[in-house]
Structure formats: structure tokens, C-alpha cells
């Protein structure tokens, strides 16, 4: 009770603080040379209040205060403490409050970390960021307050959907939001810099660390969601091209493109229009992501809210922001005049630019696949869905040139590069094709495409390895990230080609087999846990006369009443053995699905490597300064 009130009133006070920030910013913008310290102070107060408000909600969850509607809807007294806390952001209202925390945190960090820069630029960034912050405040207080009262006070809550009660998913939203909201700073700062015509090499160096930080968080956030989907949803896949996943992938694609554009801007001060457009797009897509996931348009497990008013608010707000940014872009932006035409075909920037176009193509494919069903439903009320074949068909062939340019690009110089001394690239390419030919030879699917695709991935793989030895620490960040990407593509491809599975309905004591392995259902045990009943199956898998024991679980949760399957996974460096068990219609039969998934762990390792590349880049720069 008390925590909710504290939370609610500090939220309102936080909104009120926006006015002094606005007032002092505008006053300071015209007058003095130095930044008014009051702006920083008030930004800090605002951050402080929002954090208090957030903790108000966290404590309401921890103490199971069911007079609070959000707590009532999403928590339960028997839930473990960890999931009570993570339940705070596992819902629409709480996750928006978390957005606000990060928004205010980032603008405060921006203020204290941008000391050497132009005063007017800093103030304008604060102003733009405040517009976003106020929007979120109003949205939270007006249409999705996390602090609504219920009377009479219920004695028990409705509980959190058990498949969301999971460590990976508990930290997935905060990490993802750090990435999403980081793009808001990029957005505000790009608008400020455009207005003041301040886009320059210096500015690029300064904004690069924000881009890198958001990019790392976004990458890790997507990975966490994907790991969760892998072991919790029980299909053995890690990416389903579900709209909810696509929505997080789209900002990532744009942010990656932006990162590379900023590198060019930093080195050659060209492509500033690209940088502006990409920054605006990233933020727009992040907002759209929140909108699509939280408004109930996408029918998926992430949809907790089903309120058109909320969707309408975010859409209107987004529309206004886009209008403002387009206006600023068209009115204030002056295109780079210095040596903008000196593009040579063989240069680092050309290869980056070509891959940027590929990225934009991938983005359009994902965007169309995600949005088209929604539009069709609204316009013709035809219900359709677009599955993985659509994405695979349109994306996979274009990965080939994409990978090749990724390998060649770093080998070229800026501005102009010759062909001399590049024979080794051809040699590596031919070797890669040969290796991939011998790997693919024994499989029967799509022989030609697979050979070339795996060949290109190997090409990138070997050129980056060669660079580790030749260039040592020079460009190590880029090299690690590109190496990670080649590893990612290779593991995904091998995972797809060499996976095998066996599905059967079994009773206890029965067994089944195919030409590779035999599955024996040994026994089934029942346990009573704190908030669920547990059925643990015990299976023997016999392959090449080696026996593995796997114990998948079925959990019957009491509140809410939901059955979930917990996969049992045996991970090794080479393959994952994955088994799930489902109830079939309350009979004695259980539906068993056993899968062998090669190179699964390398998918996660390679994503970690990609983010590590970003991390090194972030700190290397600071160190060198």
C-alpha cells in the first residue's frame, strides 16, 4: 500500500521536474557560455524520482501488495522471490516504467559524459530527450499506471505466466530495453546535431560510444530471448521468425548499419544523411517494437495488454516524433560538400556501403513479413501468417555476397585501394569452396546453394583468422565481431543441415527407435513443489551403444493453471541432445520429441564474440584517448 503510493507520487513529481529542466535549458540556450549546472541537477532529481517510483513498484511486488492492480494481475504469494522481482517488468505497465528509468538515466549519463562538447548541442539534446521523456510520463500516468488501486483488496494474485518464470527471460527485457532506449539518445543527439549543423568527425567519435553501447545491449538482449525460446518453448529451435522476434531484430539491423556508417563518418566525414536517417529509423523501430509487442496487435506470448487506447497513444506520439525529425532533417540538414563525389569502387567505404544496402534489403524483408499480415487483416480481414520459408528464401541467397563483402572490406584501404597483393583472397576463397564442397557432398539438400553459402562463410572465417595472426591487435574489435558472425552463420547452417529428430507417443516402459537411436521410457516420478506439481520422466537414449539418460519435466502450475514442459538438454561442444515430453489428452501416452542439434552452443558463443567485438571497440577508444 505505502510503496504504491510512494511510487505513484514520485512518478507525478518526476513529470513536474520536466518543467524546470525545460525552463533552465531554454534560458541557458540563449544566454551564457557555460552549461547551467541546474540542468544537470534537475535531471538527476528526475532520475532519482523515477528510480524511487520504480522501486516502489518492485517493493509492491516483493511484499505481494495486491491492492496494486499490476501486482494483482502478475504476481502470486507462492512465487519465488526472484520472479516476484522480475515480475515487475514482465508486464506492460512495469516495462514502460523501466523504459522511463532508462530514458532518464541515459540523459543524465549523457550530460555528465559530454563535457567537452558544444553547449548548445548538449542543451538541445536534453530538450529533445525531454520531449520523449514527457511523452512516456504522460502515457504511464494517463493510460497505463502501474499503481492503480483495487478495492476490496484481493487476498491472492493471478500469478505470472509460468513460461515467463525463467532466469533468461527475467533479465531479457531490461537488457533489450537498454538497447532500445539507448537509441533514444542517438535520436535526440542526431536531431540536435542536425539543427546546429554540428555533424562532424568529433561528433561521430562522441556518438559512436552510445551507438556501440546500445548495439551491445541489443545483441545480448536478442540472444537471451533466443536462448529462452530454445529451451523453454520446447521446439528445439532458437529463432521462429515470430513477429515478436522480428521486432527486436529490425532495430538491430539498422543499428548495425548505423555503426558502420558512423565509422565512415568518423574517418571521412561523408554519409551524414545516411547517419541521420538511420538514427531516426532505429529509434522509430524501437518504439514500434514496444508498440507492436505491448499493444496486443501481435497474438503471441508477449502480449499482456489488450488495450487499443494505449496503442493509439504510442502511434500518435510516434507520428509526432517522426514529423519533428523529418522537419528538422529537411530544413536544417546540409549535405556534406567536401569530396563527396570521390568514391572509388575498390575502397573500404564502398564495401561498407554495399553491405549497408544489403542490410536495408534484409530490413525490408523482415518488415514486410512482420507488417503485411497486420495490414491485410485490417484492410480485408483475411487472416494469414508468414512462415520461415518466406524469410529463408529471400534472405539466404543474399547472405552470399554479404559474407564475401564482409571478408573483403576490411582488407581494403580507405578512399582508394588497388588490386595488388590481393591474390591471397582468391586462394582463400577457392580453399573455402573446396572445404564446403566436401562437407556438403554427403547431404542431399540444396547442394549448390549450400556449397556456395558455406564456402562464403568459411571465406570470412579464414580471412578473419588470418588477420588475427597478421594484424594482431590492430582492428581486433572489427575482426572479432566479423569472426563471430562467420561462426554464427556456420553454426546455424550446420545446425540446420545435420539436425535429426525422433517423435513418438510412448507409455512408461515402452521404447521406440529409428536407424540412428533408440529411446526407452524408463519411469515417471511425481513431486510436489512450492507452486507447481512436477512430473519427471526418465529416458534412456541409446546411440552407437552409448547410453544417455535424460530427464525432461512436465510442470502443472496451480496459479495460473498452466502446464509447461521443461526440456532436458545435454550440451557438449559438438552437439546438444534435446528431449521434451508433453501430455496427450490426459491419457497414459506421452508425446516425446528427441532431437540432436549439432553446434548449438557455438551459436551462443559466436553471438557473445560479436558483442565482445563491440565491447573492445567501446573501451579501446577510451583507453587510447
Amino acid at each position: 500500500m505505502i510503496y504504491s503510493s510512494i511510487g505513484y507520487y514520485s512518478l507525478i513529481l518526476g513529470l513536474v521536474i520536466s518543467f524546470p529542466v525545460f525552463f533552465f535549458s531554454i534560458k541557458n540556450f540563449r544566454n551564457e557560455e557555460v552549461l547551467d549546472y541546474k540542468i544537470i541537477t534537475f535531471s538527476f532529481i528526475q532520475l532519482f524520482l523515477v528510480v524511487i517510483s520504480f522501486f516502489g513498484l518492485v517493493f509492491s511486488f516483493v511484499y505481494s501488495d495486491f491492492s496494486n492492480e499490476t501486482v494483482f494481475n502478475n504476481s502470486h504469494t507462492t512465487k519465488p522471490l526472484f520472479y516476484k522481482i522480475s515480475g515487475t517488468w514482465g508486464n506492460h505497465e512495469g516495462s514502460l516504467l523501466l523504459w522511463l528509468v532508462v530514458l532518464t538515466l541515459f540523459i543524465f549519463l549523457f550530460l555528465i559524459r559530454s563535457k567537452g562538447l558544444l553547449k548548445k548541442y548538449r542543451i538541445l539534446t536534453v530538450l529533445f530527450q525531454q520531449i520523449i521523456i514527457i511523452g512516456f510520463f504522460v502515457f504511464l500516468i494517463k493510460s497505463s499506471s502501474p499503481f492503480n488501486y483495487i478495492f476490496p483488496i484481493p487476498s491472492e494474485g493471478l500469478g505470472l505466466n509460468p513460461i515467463l518464470q525463467d532466469p533468461a527471460l527475467a533479465i531479457h527485457p531490461p537488457i533489450l530495453y537498454l538497447g532500445y532506449v539507448g537509441s533514444s539518445i542517438i535520436f535526440s543527439s542526431v536531431l540536435a546535431a542536425t539543427t546546429l549543423n554540428y555533424i562532424s568527425k568529433n561528433w561521430a567519435t562522441h556518438i559512436k560510444s552510445w551507438v556501440l553501447a546500445s548495439w551491445i545491449f541489443l545483441t545480448l538482449g536478442i540472444m537471451l530471448g533466443s536462448i529462452w525460446a530454445y529451451y523453454e518453448l520446447g521446439w528445439g529451435g532458437f529463432w521462429f521468425w515470430d513477429p515478436v522476434e522480428n521486432v527486436s531484430l529490425m532495430p538491430w539491423l539498422v543499428l548495425t548499419t548505423l555503426l558502420h556508417c558512423i565509422l565512415i563518418l568518423e574517418k571521412r566525414s561523408i554519409l551524414s544523411s545516411w547517419v541521420i536517417i538511420l538514427s531516426i529509423t532505429t529509434f522509430t523501430l524501437s518504439m514500434c517494437g514496444t508498440f507492436l509487442v505491448r499493444s496486443g496487435i501481435l497474438n503471441s506470448i508477449h502480449t499482456f495488454a489488450n488495450d487499443p487506447e494505449r496503442g493509439l497513444f504510442i502511434l500518435t506520439f510516434l507520428f509526432i516524433l517522426i514529423l519533428i525529425s523529418l522537419f528538422i532533417f529537411l530544413v536544417f540538414h546540409k549535405s556534406d560538400n567536401q569530396n563527396s563525389s570521390s568514391f572509388f569502387f575498390f575502397s573500404k567505404e564502398t564495401s561498407i556501403l554495399i553491405n549497408n544496402w544489403f542490410m536495408m534489403y534484409f530490413l525490408s524483408v523482415v518488415l514486410i513479413g512482420t507488417v503485411y499480415p497486420i495490414f491485410l487483416d485490417v484492410i480485408t480481414s483475411q487472416k494469414i501468417s508468414i512462415g520461415p520459408p518466406f524469410y529463408h528464401k529471400l534472405i539466404i541467397p543474399f547472405l552470399i555476397p554479404f559474407l564475401i563483402f564482409m571478408a573483403i572490406g576490411p582488407q581494403l584501404k580507405w578512399i582508394k585501394s588497388g588490386l595488388e597483393g590481393k591474390v591471397y583472397l582468391a586462394v582463400i576463397f577457392i580453399i573455402s569452396l573446396l572445404i564446403s564442397f566436401f562437407i556438403v557432398k554427403n547431404t542431399n539438400t540444396n547442394f549448390l546453394v549450400n556449397t556456395i553459402l558455406i564456402g562464403s562463410a568459411f571465406f570470412l572465417f579464414f580471412t578473419t583468422i588470418r588477420d588475427f595472426f597478421l594484424k594482431k591487435l590492430k582492428g581486433i574489435q572489427q575482426n572479432i565481431a566479423h569472426f563471430g558472425f562467420s561462426l554464427l552463420i556456420l553454426s546455424i547452417l550446420f545446425n540446420n543441415i545435420f539436425s535429426s529428430e525422433l517423435i513418438a507417443n510412448l507409455k512408461v516402459g515402452e521404447s521406440t527407435k529409428n536407424d540412428r537411436f533408440e529411446i526407452i521410457f524408463n519411469k515417471l516420478e511425481k513431486f510436489e513443489e512450492k507452486n507447481y506439481i512436477l512430473f519427471k520422466g526418465n529416458f534412456s537414449i541409446i546411440e552407437n551403444e552409448i547410453e544417455d539418460r535424460l530427464e525432461p519435466e512436465l510442470r502443472i502450475y496451480n496459479q495460473p493453471n498452466i502446464i509447461t514442459s521443461e526440456a532436458d538438454i545435454k550440451t557438449s561442444l559438438l552437439t546438444d541432445k534435446f528431449i521434451t515430453m508433453n501430455i496427450v489428452h490426459n491419457e497414459e501416452y506421452f508425446n516425446i520429441r528427441y532431437q540432436v542439434k549439432p553446434f548449438m552452443i557455438w551459436i551462443w558463443i559466436s553471438i557473445l564474440l560479436i558483442s565482445l567485438g563491440g565491447l573492445i571497440s567501446l573501451f579501446k577508444k577510451k583507453y587510447e584517448k
Partner: protein, 139 residues
């Protein structure tokens, strides 16, 4: 004649245009091929021909219709007006049971027989897929 620069730029623009047109064509074509339409059992009765194309069928699992064999599950999907027999081999979601909503993806063999390759799982006990709700309400 035009200068080299103009020629290059012209070439560049043509290249961009061609690749744009190509990619739009590609996207549209594979959209057409890969879109999966949602039908209710009654919609299926109205079809003029049975095409060999992947679709989704949604409705309620008819009471007392589930039959389980060692590698197969047979059941009937109904929208209380028309119904269709479904056969499926694969993983059944935990919430799949009689009298609950279901969405099956697969191929029509004829107007009363459907071979499913996937049964969609993402719902809790109170949740009904929007398509199923619409299919049931419109009858």
C-alpha cells in the same frame, strides 16, 4: 558527349533501380508463395477446389474425437457448423484437448480430411487464438 562522372552516376542510378525492381519482384513473388491462409472448417466447404497449398485450419477440437496411436493423433476440428478430420504426427502442445481451441497447419487432402504438420501451441487455458475466436463468432 557527357563526362565520365555523369556516365558513372547514370550507371549507378540504373544499377540501383534495377536492383530495387528485382528485389520488389522477389519479395512479392515469395510473399505470394509463402503466405499461409487461415480457414475455418466452413470456409473449406466453400472452396471451389482443393489446392496443394499450406493452410491453417482453426476451431474447436470436437468432444470425444481425439484418438491416439503410437505415432499419430487423429481428431476433428469443428466450428459447430462444419467439421474436418485431422491427422497429425508430431508434438502436441500441452493445452491441446477436447473442447479447446486449436490451430493446425498443413495440407488439405480433400474437403473433409486435413493432414497437419504443425499444431500451434502458444496459448494458456483461457486464451483463444484470435483467428479461432473470429471463426467461431462469425458462425
Amino acid at each position: 558527349m557527357y563526362g565520365r562522372k555523369v556516365k558513372l552516376r547514370f550507371l549507378f542510378i540504373i544499377l540501383v533501380l534495377i536492383s530495387l525492381i528485382l528485389s520488389v519482384f522477389l519479395v512479392l513473388k515469395s510473399l505470394e508463395e509463402n503466405v499461409v491462409y487461415f480457414k475455418s472448417p466452413s470456409d473449406i466447404q466453400l472452396l471451389s477446389e482443393v489446392k496443394n497449398k499450406k493452410i491453417r485450419v482453426g476451431g474447436m477440437v470436437k468432444e470425444k474425437s481425439i484418438q491416439i496411436k503410437s505415432n499419430k493423433v487423429n481428431f476433428v476440428i469443428t466450428d459447430f457448423k462444419n467439421e474436418i478430420n485431422v491427422t497429425y504426427s508430431g508434438v502436441v502442445p500441452n493445452l491441446f484437448s477436447e473442447g479447446k481451441g486449436v490451430v493446425a497447419e498443413g495440407y488439405l487432402k480433400d474437403k473433409s480430411f486435413f493432414e497437419a504438420s504443425k499444431i500451434l501451441a502458444k496459448h494458456d487455458e483461457n486464451y483463444m487464438p484470435p483467428e479461432v475466436k473470429a471463426a467461431l463468432e462469425s458462425k
